[in-house]
């Protein structure tokens, strides 16, 4: 028993074991056919080891030759397996070279087997025993077979093949690891082929007297291959773990996505565009009224869609698929099995094709509420008692309610889509266009009262004054403007009426006032009449004299004329006051009005023993007003002042009339002050209320009417207590440009 008897079986065992392991792996997992090739190689090498062992136990040359002969079979097998392995494992290499090498070997070996010759030896004459580390081992002595050159040639081809493989892998541009591998495996193979082949050849040519020990290099190659394969196995396992992790993670992400979508009531869907099959999440299915198995095909899906919306949906689908938009958006109704109708908004996108199948994925949401809200809004606008129009960003009418149609005299359809300008009177269009434009650029809601007046045009051409209020509104994606239109012709008419009535009231009040003053007015006329009578009678007397004093007569007549005119003035002013005409606004100087009034009330003042103090500003700007009405106001105030002082002794009765210009407020102030008992604080405002009076015969309209007149003049009237007595203050705005 020598060490060789231990070593060679061990080597065989190692090779066999490795081969079996990978064979088993390959059987379980057919992904790497290289493993099968390896198993074959390992098996062959194992056989080679056994053959070599037997060879080294050969006693006779004939035995030696026989074993040697048959020993070539596993070698050839091994080489074939190697070539197969390289090709399968690296998926590279000039296959023809490899197979040619194998072919040549086979060709060399086969005849030898049949004829009885040997590959390397024609015949073996003797055995020469050598001693290797204590073991007696035969070595062959004989004539070499010239075929051995063909074998060398085959080996050379093999080398080329391996080199070629390395080159190809390098050229393929693999990473560093791959290159390392191919160099390791093929390089070691090359090395050992050279070594082994050279060894065998030297033995054949008698240069070297040694046993055939090809198994050593072959085993080395086997180990290298096993190592490389092992590396792959480890990597494959690691990849598999990674893949599983990724899959888990991906599934986790998918689940979260679905949960989120479900939480917000969104359904997710997928549509295989090729087969037409559709798939929905539970939520999605529920939205469409599908059962548990949420799968549909296109036709079934269309069945669910509301007939009126099918065309829209088909068009949207076409747009996405045929016309290549890639994106799908549509709002449509579905009719659920129980008959109820829901509004659905669906969006989707054509996804990256998985393999060959184009797939569209998207979401569906229930927008029934939103649509109902929009519908409610539309109803509200429609039923509103005010005419309402909705105008889009281009200024075209998008919506008109029944009132609007009625107001403008059009049928609804005639108004939609038309330019808003057609409703505006021609000459007002420019201004309106600017206004609308400005509003669209800076939209902000404006309260009704702050609306704008405009002259509108009806279908029949008639014009009507309206007030419009604008509000910006968003409907879906569009920015629109909602306009409320109010016919204000009625309002204007009423305002006109009120103005007329106010004037009438002022007139009546004036007459009433003058009635109060009638006694004084009569007195006012009486004076000139007295003067005229005296003068006339004096003149007669002068004429009756023996020598008529014509100078005196002349004077008399002149004075008669003068007094007559005086009387005429009074009558004229009186007539003016009694006139019932609509207010006539003129530029006035307040001081003149004061003087007018004092002339009229002079007698009354005298009658009541009231003296006047005048404090008039020398220069006053013009005010715009009705002379008669303002005279009425002052007259009223002066009469009131006199009334207020009725209880005072005569000499104390003083009415002060002042005029001033208030520069800051741009107003002219006229004040009428008395020194009576003043106005109780509680009544300071009440006195201006109609029917409030302290006079037994009074109606209490005087001050109320005065205030109305002042308001119509854009002025104010108020009372102030000035101990003693009270002062009434009239404020009138200065005329523009004055």
């Amino acid at each position: 028993m020598t060490w060789i008897d231990i070593a060679w079986p061990v080597m065989s065992g190692i090779s066999l074991t490795l081969g079996l392991i990978y064979l088993l792996i390959w059987v379980r997992q057919r992904s790497q056919p290289a493993m099968l090739a390896f198993a074959m190689a390992a098996g062959s090498v194992s056989a080679i080891a056994i053959f070599e062992l037997v060879l080294m136990h050969a006693q006779t040359p004939r035995d030696y030759a026989a074993v040697l002969r048959w020993g070539h079979v596993p070698v050839t097998l091994a080489i074939i397996s190697l070539v197969a392995f390289v090709l399968l494992h690296f998926r590279a290499g000039p296959a023809w070279l490899g197979w040619t090498a194998c072919g040549v070997r086979l060709a060399c070996m086969l005849p030898g087997l049949i004829t009885g010759g040997s590959l390397r030896f024609n015949d073996i004459q003797a055995l020469q025993f050598v001693d290797i580390a204590g073991a007696r081992v035969p070595t062959p002595v004989g004539t070499p077979n010239p075929v051995v050159f063909a074998v060398e040639f085959a080996d050379a081809l093999l080398l080329l093949f391996l080199a070629g493989t390395i080159l190809q892998v390098f050229r393929r541009g693999g990473n560093a690891r791959q290159r390392r591998r191919v160099v390791l495996v093929c390089g070691s193979m090359m090395l050992f082929i050279v070594g082994g082949s050279g060894w065998a050849t030297f033995i054949a040519f008698g240069i070297l007297h040694a046993p055939f020990v090809v198994v050593v290099p072959f085993l080395a190659v086997v180990l290298v291959m096993a190592y490389d394969l092992g590396d792959s196995v480890v990597r494959a396992t690691r990849l598999e773990v990674e893949l599983r992790d990724n899959e888990t993670r991906l599934r986790g992400t998918e689940e979260r996505l679905q949960l989120t979508a479900d939480a917000v009531g969104m359904g997710l869907w997928t549509w295989d565009l090729r087969t037409g099959e559709q798939w929905f999440t539970d939520t999605g299915g529920a939205l469409l009224g599908l059962g548990e198995d949420a799968r549909l095909d296109y036709a079934a899906f269309l069945e669910r869609v509301h007939p009126d919306d099918r065309d829209v949906l088909l068009d949207a689908v076409d747009g996405a698929v045929q016309r290549g938009a890639g994106r799908f958006e549509c709002e449509y109704r579905v009719v659920l099995p129980d008959g109820s109708v829901r509004w659905i908004a669906a969006t989707g996108r054509i996804g990256d094709a998985e393999g060959e199948t184009p797939v569209m994925r998207g979401v569906v949401i229930d927008i029934t509420e939103r649509r109902q809200a929009e519908e409610r809004f539309r109803l509200v606008v429609e039923r509103s008692p005010t005419a309402m129009l909705m105008v889009d960003a281009r200024g075209c009418i998008a919506l008109a309610n029944a009132q609007a149609a009625g107001l403008f005299g059009y049928a609804r359809e005639e108004m939609l889509g038309r330019d808003l300008e057609m409703l505006v009177a021609a000459h007002a269009r420019a201004g309106h266009a600017r206004y609308l434009d400005a509003f669209l650029r800076h939209p902000e809601a404006r309260a009704m009262g702050a609306g704008r007046e405009i002259l509108a045009r009806r279908k029949d051409g008639s014009e009507v004054r309206v007030e419009i209020a604008l509000t910006p509104v968003r409907i879906g994606e569009d920015r629109m403007v909602l306009a409320s239109v109010t016919d204000i012709s009625e309002r204007l008419r009423i305002e006109q009426e009120v103005a007329t009535q106010r004037d009438e009231l002022a007139h009546l009040s004036r007459i009433s006032l003058l009635g109060e003053l009638s006694a004084s007015l009569a007195h006012e006329l009486n004076q000139p009449l007295t003067a005229i009578l005296s003068n006339a009678q004096a003149a007669l007397r002068f004429l009756d004299r023996d020598q008529p004093d014509l100078v005196e007569v002349r004077d008399s007549l002149l004075h008669i004329v003068e007094n007559d005119k005086r009387a005429g003035e009074v009558i004229r002013r009186l007539r003016a006051m009694l006139r019932k005409e609509q207010s006539d606004q003129q530029p006035l100087l307040v001081n003149e009005v004061v003087h007018d009034v004092l002339r009229l009330v002079n007698s009354d003042l005298v009658n009541r023993n009231v003296s006047t103090v005048l404090d008039l500003a020398p220069v006053l700007p013009f005010v715009l007003g009705d002379r008669v009405q303002l005279q009425q106001v002052l007259m009223n105030l002066i009469v009131n002042a006199c009334d207020a002082m009725a209880r005072l002794p005569g000499r104390e009765r003083v009415v002060t009339v002042r005029t001033r210009f208030d520069e800051d407020a741009r107003q002219v102030h006229v004040t009428v002050g008395d020194v009576g008992s003043g106005i109780p604080e509680d009544d300071i405002e009440r006195i201006f209320t109609p029917f409030v009076t302290t006079k037994p015969q009074g109606m209490g309209l005087g001050l109320a009417v005065c205030r109305t007149i002042l308001h119509a003049h854009r002025g104010t009237l108020r009372a102030v207590n000035t101990s003693p007595g009270a002062t009434l203050v009239v404020a009138l705005p200065v005329m523009d440009g004055a």
Binding site: Q527, L529, T530, A538, D549, H559, N563, V606, N609, G650
Partner: protein, 131 residues
Amino acid sequence: MGKRACATVVYIVDDDEGVRDGFARLLRSAGMAPRPYACAEHFLDEVVDAPGTCVLLDNTMPRLTGPDVLARLQSRGIALPVITISAHDDEQRRAWARDLGARMFLHKPVDDQALLDAILWVMGNTDARGR
């Protein structure tokens, strides 16, 4: 009507210029000597109590009314005959005037004869009664 040796002096107190002028002319045409005053204060300052004088007093004047003037005259002891002329005529004023010593109460517009008669009567009475 005859002329006297010295013309009758008639104070005319009336704030209205036209009326005053008219009366003055009228009295002149009747041969009297009118002395017109627009303002009662001035009249009171200058009035002289003399025979053959009388006063035409307007009842309604600012500041000092007719009755006030009468009262003043009385308080100074001037007993000149006073004829009150007024645009207003009511019982109250008449009574007032009478109480204060006015002899006559006339109403505008005044007829010339009525006025002259009134003056003579008032003067006559005074004379008859003496001073």
